[in-house]
């Protein structure tokens, strides 16, 4: 059976556009609001990435750190992420949702327990920032057995031979990091050069769905629309931060931003 992630990419390809992937942090700024945000933006976004916050992230920039700290200050616990997903999936059973975070939380929860919780809640995939290939093989296989996608990452520093191995062992989707940066950095490589590298990766296996993330905003997204999918994260976290600063509703503001992003890639 095809995964919901795969079906979504097929649908987007038929519509001749990239899939729009959003990233928000579970519990930012409250548990209820983060659920409301998912419900709202799922009208425009094709795949939702939901971060489970960690207080010592080694690859996130200021915006996502800010969101994570906000969630943790509000007492966020890992169990909350499963509740949010469960509630979201009740109304949106076919919308793919991917959890993203750092390995220590899974390690403490127990790999099997974590995946059981993912399955019960309806999680479609996992991205673990600090569990690279090949160390991730064991966990990736456990995911596969539960029909949960384990999403591998490729970065500009990944040598071609390694890329080939990673893609060979990947599931339905691979995440390409656009540039040397933490999340939310200014796009310091031109979209043209990113796409050049991207097409090299596609040539390894054109059937794999490869999405591009890092540095993507409303300013840069349209230049990259020939990719299979595009991830926007920090810009959304920033929208929440700014809304709270100005005493505005972060849910409606976020909805507008995602709607706008979607229009730029149609």
């Amino acid at each position: 059976m095809k995964s919901k992630i795969n079906l979504t990419f097929e649908k987007c390809k038929k519509e001749k556009r990239p899939a729009l992937l959003t990233y928000t942090v579970a519990g930012d700024n409250t548990k209820l609001n983060s659920l409301k945000m998912l419900n709202k933006i799922s009208k425009h976004a094709d795949i939702l990435e939901l971060g489970f916050p960690h207080n010592t992230p080694i690859a996130d920039g200021g915006q996502i750190q800010g969101s994570s700290h906000r969630a943790l200050r509000n007492g966020f616990k890992l169990k909350d992420v499963f509740q949010i997903v469960k509630k979201f999936k009740k109304n949106n059973p076919n919308k793919p949702l991917i959890l993203m975070g750092y390995f220590n939380l899974i390690y403490q929860n127990g790999e099997n327990n974590f995946l059981k919780n993912c399955k019960t809640a309806g999680v479609d995939g996992c991205i673990i920032v600090d569990l690279p290939y090949p160390e991730n093989k064991k966990f990736a296989n456990k995911c596969k057995k539960k029909s949960i996608n384990f999403i591998q990452l490729i970065s500009p520093t990944t040598p071609v031979n390694r890329m080939k191995k990673i893609i060979r062992d990947s599931h339905d989707m691979v995440y390409y990091i656009s540039m040397l940066s933490t999340t939310g950095g200014r796009l310091k490589v031109s979209p043209k050069n990113i796409l050049k590298k991207y097409s090299k990766i596609k040539r390894i296996n054109s059937k794999k769905n490869i999405v591009i993330g890092f540095g993507i905003t409303d300013k840069t997204i349209s230049g990259l629309k020939s990719a299979d999918g595009l991830v926007v994260g920090s810009m959304l976290c920033k929208t929440i931060t700014n809304s709270l600063k100005m005493g505005q509703n972060p849910v409606t503001n976020l909805d507008k931003v995602v709607y706008n992003l979607k229009n730029k890639i149609l």
Binding site: T56, F103, N104, V129, P132, S155, L180, S181
Partner: protein, 410 residues
């Protein structure tokens, strides 16, 4: 499964193919972007370790620049005052810059030169790692950035000023607890974004495996010297010796113990117990913490049930870290070393006693080890020997000591 240390193999090399010690400590839990730079560094280091020219260069700088060997002295007055064991100190604070951090910093700069990099970045807690890296960077012609928690910038002023004087940029880290743990995170994030031009020097035996290795390999100079000095003093390495060292990240202890792993020497690590009657401490080994992942490595780490890293408190900025080197976790689980802790108050008392009686004045980090020596010595026979690694000088702690004790002596 009981873990065992292999005889005749350097401790840093006793990992499996996933770079784990005893199958559960260390490893490389890193973002994909760092895989290649870490692989490159790993390959380069394994080559340089065997390169006679490089080793000659290292030894030359250790001697002419760092001032090896650092003194090994008997603390006659302290020994007489306490009664019991003979107390000695390896005065590593006599190294250029005033602490053991200079070994790791120098080696990283030499490696960065070989790698053709022009920039080097590092983290710092007490400010020593930052001060030494900025010094070495200046000497070897590298541009340098130091990440330091905003709280530590306030409490370690003398070292902050030294870093600036050496021409390095200080990046204040204002996230989280604003101490070493956040400085290391921020520094790693910076490296994620700049590894094409920049080498990273992790300031202790923590982080992804290669940084644990390079650091322990560099500080091992301390125990190489001590072996020679012991033979000079006693004719051979005495059987009953106790090697006491404070542990934060664990770099000075690893260096102090490295050559003694296969001997009968007793290895005792002293962690930061924090303020008396406070629940906060920085002692993951002696307080029963669970294994977790921090800064790219599996280790005993202070954390909550969910896996969020816990806050720590210690008067000593250099020990104020929730994790601990995977090598020390390995030494603990193999029972090769034992670990205990000393409180802020005990460390201050030890600082005062040693500074009053002797010609050395340990900083608050080694004062934790002296506190244990002061506790142990009276219970031991005069035929027994305690050696403390006095790995830092109190000058950098002048402000804190004045505030806590009313006066500063050195």
């Amino acid at each position: 499964m009981t873990l065992k240390i292999k005889k005749g193999v350097p401790l840093i090399d006793q990992h499996d193919k996933n770079f784990m010690y005893g199958g559960k400590f260390g490893g490389n839990f890193i973002p994909e972007t760092l895989k290649k730079p870490i692989d490159d560094l790993t390959k380069l280091f394994s080559k340089l370790r065997k390169d006679k020219k490089f080793l000659k260069e290292r030894d030359y700088h250790f001697e002419s620049y760092i001032g090896a060997p650092t003194p090994f002295i008997k603390l006659e007055n302290l020994t007489n005052h306490l009664g019991g064991a003979q107390i000695y100190a390896k005065v590593v604070s006599e190294a250029n810059g005033g602490a053991h951090k200079i070994y790791n910093a120098t080696v990283h700069c030499l490696i960065a030169k070989r790698a053709g990099k022009k920039f080097i970045v590092g983290d710092t807690g007490a400010g020593y790692a930052g001060k030494m890296l900025s010094m070495a960077a200046k000497k070897f012609g590298l541009r340098c950035k130091i990440f330091m928690g905003a709280k530590d910038i306030k409490r370690q002023r003398p070292n902050v000023e030294a870093i600036k004087k050496n021409g390095a940029t200080i990046v204040p880290v204002t996230s989280g607890s604003q101490t070493l743990v956040d400085a290391v995170s921020e520094c790693m994030r910076y490296w994620v974004a700049n590894n094409d031009t920049t080498n990273l020097c992790v300031g202790s035996t923590v982080g992804p495996n290669i940084f644990v290795k390079i650091c322990a390999w560099s500080t091992a100079q301390i125990s190489r010297e001590l072996v020679t000095q012991l033979k000079e003093e006693f004719g051979k390495i005495p059987r009953k010796i106790k090697l006491l060292n404070c542990v934060g990240g664990g770099s000075s202890a690893m260096g102090f113990w490295n050559e003694f792993i296969d001997t009968d020497a007793e290895l005792i690590g002293i962690e930061a117990g924090g303020p008396k009657n406070s629940k906060l401490h920085a002692a993951p080994l002696s307080s029963g913490s669970k294994i977790g992942i921090l800064h790219g490595a599996a280790q005993y780490v202070i954390q909550d049930e969910d896996g969020q890293i816990g806050s720590t408190e210690s008067i000593s900025a250099g020990l104020d870290y929730p994790g601990i080197s995977p090598l020390h976790c390995f030494l603990k689980d193999t029972k090769r070393a034992r670990y205990t802790s000393a409180s802020d108050e005990d460390a201050l008392k030890a600082y005062r006693l040693v500074s009053k009686l002797e010609n050395i004045s340990p900083s608050l980090e080694p004062s934790h080890a002296f506190a244990e020596a002061i506790k142990l010595a009276p219970k031991l026979k005069s035929s027994e020997i305690i050696i403390v690694n006095s790995c830092g000088d109190s000058l950098k702690d002048k402000d804190i000591i004045k505030q806590k004790l009313g006066s500063y002596i050195r």
